[in-house]
Symmetry: C2
């Protein structure tokens, strides 16, 4: 049974895409829905999302944001109000044309994002500078009619949060944009154990309708980049298009400055592809639905189940714990099963351990086993979880370092993508032509202009003209 | 300013419907969206929903349920699989016919409820009796193309939770149906302070596709009934229609038994119409976004703001607290404002109170004010909140008693609805004709056959034939 289990899993280095699909299905994170491009998020996958939600929601509220809920359907006329925005989104929305048996007089699209409907409401709510800043977040589902889909990474429907804020001054709105990006980076690094590069998107890659888009970019195990969270500064473009006005401190009517920012269930894909290995999923303790699984050995022997139950009660007070006392599976099968599901710590206990008042702790990240006294088991697990969290971050950082390159010219650049992939740092002139060229030749794109630019040369690696920025490039999910 | 504020509010007894609309808009619970029948749930309304969600979610998890997420779009062919179900829902669904610029080969409806898509997935997931029971809940938005809508009570889109479970035996499924109804009743009575009648729906009123539907029915201030939560037993009807099968303990293939149950944002409408009064909203402390608001008097005087801030810090450790130190409004305006918003306890404090180390506590339910020593203020507020919670329940129960009648025959029945409305208890023969007749003549319906039937006669109040049940009837929202 055990062998079959491992045999079924594609090796990462053989076929990363197939490995990914194997993991998400076998670990019961998702299943394919009977509608092309849609996924079902199963309980184990949804619990990860709930844990991410809880962390983000707390941080949003601590920074003064409140949640609200806006309609899922947006009239075509509203979508059309901001020119850049409609150009970006209209080709990929789902259209509702009938309500019951009645044809609608105006088509309604399922929100691909909510700037247009939210701006419409904001124009009713804002009258004076006293109403600012307006800091609202929405947890919602959105639909984008994607051609190629992959569970979590790119699906027709996904779950996310979208923050939408209004501010008196440009400075304040810009500050908000960066503040929220920093919260995303904090959550990814300290909870999801995923190191990220913070930076600004090029004009080509920015959000439709934004003045500037900021991003956190992560590097997956296979060296591809994942845009993991974005924060947009809109200037007063949407405010003007949607007639959002307020009376300023000087008595004059003004347009406020606007931001929006979002993180989605795509983050779960990031966790899988950053941390997973050939045994399956590997979940960071901070957001793992189960932090400790207890697997008894020789559970039919007298006293074992009782001890396991007792231990379970004790540990549940401090951790998210699962007891696997199913009698239809061998301990070996169970160990494989919970490794596949990525549980950070496995506690093994059998009659001999009980005799010695001990148990075995197995850590999923390094496969190490230690024997610990049951007296101190809470403290030992606590330390272990902290250590796993840190180690997983460090392993991911190590992988990113291994897959981060510098290219001085287009030949160097192309040769990197011929044998490997990853973040490639280059100097860039700021010109769209050079951006298009690397995409054509290597299918890579500029991921971001990082906040912390290094000086790695003076000339654009593509055209040789004077460079404006150092940028991170890479192939993306 | 204060006078204008109160003047704008319609009196409940003059026009209850208009009073309701005034409250929801002025207390900033919702706003009308620019799409007919849709509402925007504003932060203050959404916070109430978050508090209700937290209570329900905890109870679902304590009883072994896990959350998951299923697609919002359902292919027409799936909706058509269960005959009764499609008959009930097809006339009121929104149809997606285009994805981007491409016409879809099959229409997709936005879920009006998720039995069909969830049953489809369950048929893939269930193989053995070991996979049962399957206990899953979903928090989601649904769309029903309603002709007449009112915020919270009946809107085209609403938020809810829908539980969907599978069980080995009929008994177990029926037990689950009642267990979840009891959780709903518990939450309504002990958190929302709304007394409910638990009972079974008549065949005419049951959910499309269910074998039996159970309900909790509440009575609003105006004597109309509100169906507040339902729990359905499906037998194996959906399992057969969707080919959900498992290998039983005896090795044979069987269909499992199924349930579903839901509570929605309609519950917020129930809170408003059960507890509100001519001064506005009145929120039960258990789910109030703000439990205590601190309103300073003479806040420009030295030391007042400092004392209020200090007090706020103290109280925030135990309660959900708001400080209203806006200098652009008078204390009178603020008091009206927070009464309208239904905050259970208002703490007033000015220079004289500070001198005496005292403050005033105002309770929203009875309008009483007491002076308390700042030393014990946490304990005093704690007791007050508990007392308000209980008192609000009792006031609602009192109103229900006042509006509960008994009718022995059709003349008595009609005369009640000529001068009043409420729950009218009657004996019923079980015949659909009699059910139709009371609807025709009084626009009332059978709300439920209560779990606790009283013997109030032997004959059906409508036709005079032998009675089978005592039923609660009423006009409904």
């Amino acid at each position: 049974m055990d062998k079959e289990f491992v045999k079924d899993l594609t090796k990462m280095d053989e076929d990363f895409a197939k490995w990914y699909t194997d993991i998400i299905i076998k670990a019961e994170l998702v299943d394919y829905a009977p509608i092309k491009g849609f996924m079902v998020i199963r309980p184990y996958g949804y619990e990860i999302w709930e844990n991410i939600q809880a962390v983000l929601d707390k941080k949003f509220k601590e920074t003064g944001h409140k949640n609200a809920y806006f309609p899922i359907l947006i009239p075509e006329s509203l979508l059309n109000k901001e020119k850049e925005h409609v150009k970006g989104f209209a080709p990929e929305v789902a259209w509702v044309t009938y309500g019951g048996s009645e044809k609608l007089s105006e088509r309604l699209c399922i929100r691909p994002t909510s700037e247009t409907i939210i701006s419409t409401m904001y124009s009713k709510w804002i009258k004076s500078y006293r109403d600012l800043p307006l800091l609202i977040n929405q947890w919602a589902n959105v639909v984008r009619w994607e051609k190629t889909t992959r569970p979590f990474l790119r699906t027709t429907e996904f779950l996310w949060q979208e923050g939408h804020t209004l501010h008196e001054t440009e400075e304040e709105a810009k500050e908000e944009t960066i503040k929220m990006l920093n919260i995303y980076a904090d959550v990814f690094e300290n909870y999801l154990a995923i190191p990220v590069i913070k930076g600004k998107k090029s004009d080509k890659e920015k959000f439709a309708g934004a003045e500037s888009t900021y991003t956190i970019e992560a590097l997956m195990h296979d060296g591809k980049a994942l845009q993991s969270g974005t924060s947009h500064f809109f200037g007063d473009g949407f405010a003007k298009a949607f007639d959002i006005k307020y009376q300023g401190r000087d008595g004059k009517q003004k347009n406020p400055f606007q931001t929006s920012w979002g993180v989605s269930t795509r983050s779960i894909g990031g966790i899988i592809m950053t941390h997973g290995d050939d045994r399956g999923l590997k979940l960071p303790p901070m957001i793992a639905p189960i932090q400790v699984v207890i697997v008894p050995f020789a559970q039919h022997k007298e006293g074992v189940i009782e001890e396991v139950n007792k231990l379970g009660e004790r540990l549940k007070k401090k951790f998210r714990v699962e007891l696997d006392i199913r009698d239809s599976y061998t301990p070996g099968y169970k160990c494989n099963h919970w490794e596949l599901k990525g549980v950070p710590v496995r506690l093994e206990i059998g009659p001999k351990d009980i005799e010695k008042n001990e148990c075995i702790l197995f850590r999923r990240d390094t496969f190490e086993k230690i024997s610990v006294d049951l007296k101190n088991v809470e403290e030992e697990i606590d330390n272990l979880l902290k250590d796993i969290q840190t180690n997983m971050y460090n392993m991911a950082l190590e992988n990113r370092k291994k897959h981060t390159f510098i290219a001085k010219n287009i030949e160097e650049y192309k040769s990197i993508f011929e044998k490997d992939q990853g973040f490639v740092k280059i100097m860039w002139c700021g010109n769209r032509d050079c951006e298009d060229k690397i995409k054509e030749e290597t299918s890579s794109t500029i991921r971001c202009i990082p906040f912390e630019e290094e000086h790695i040369g003076d000339k654009c690696a593509i055209c040789g003209k004077e460079a404006k920025h150092m940028v991170y490039t890479g192939r993306q999910y």
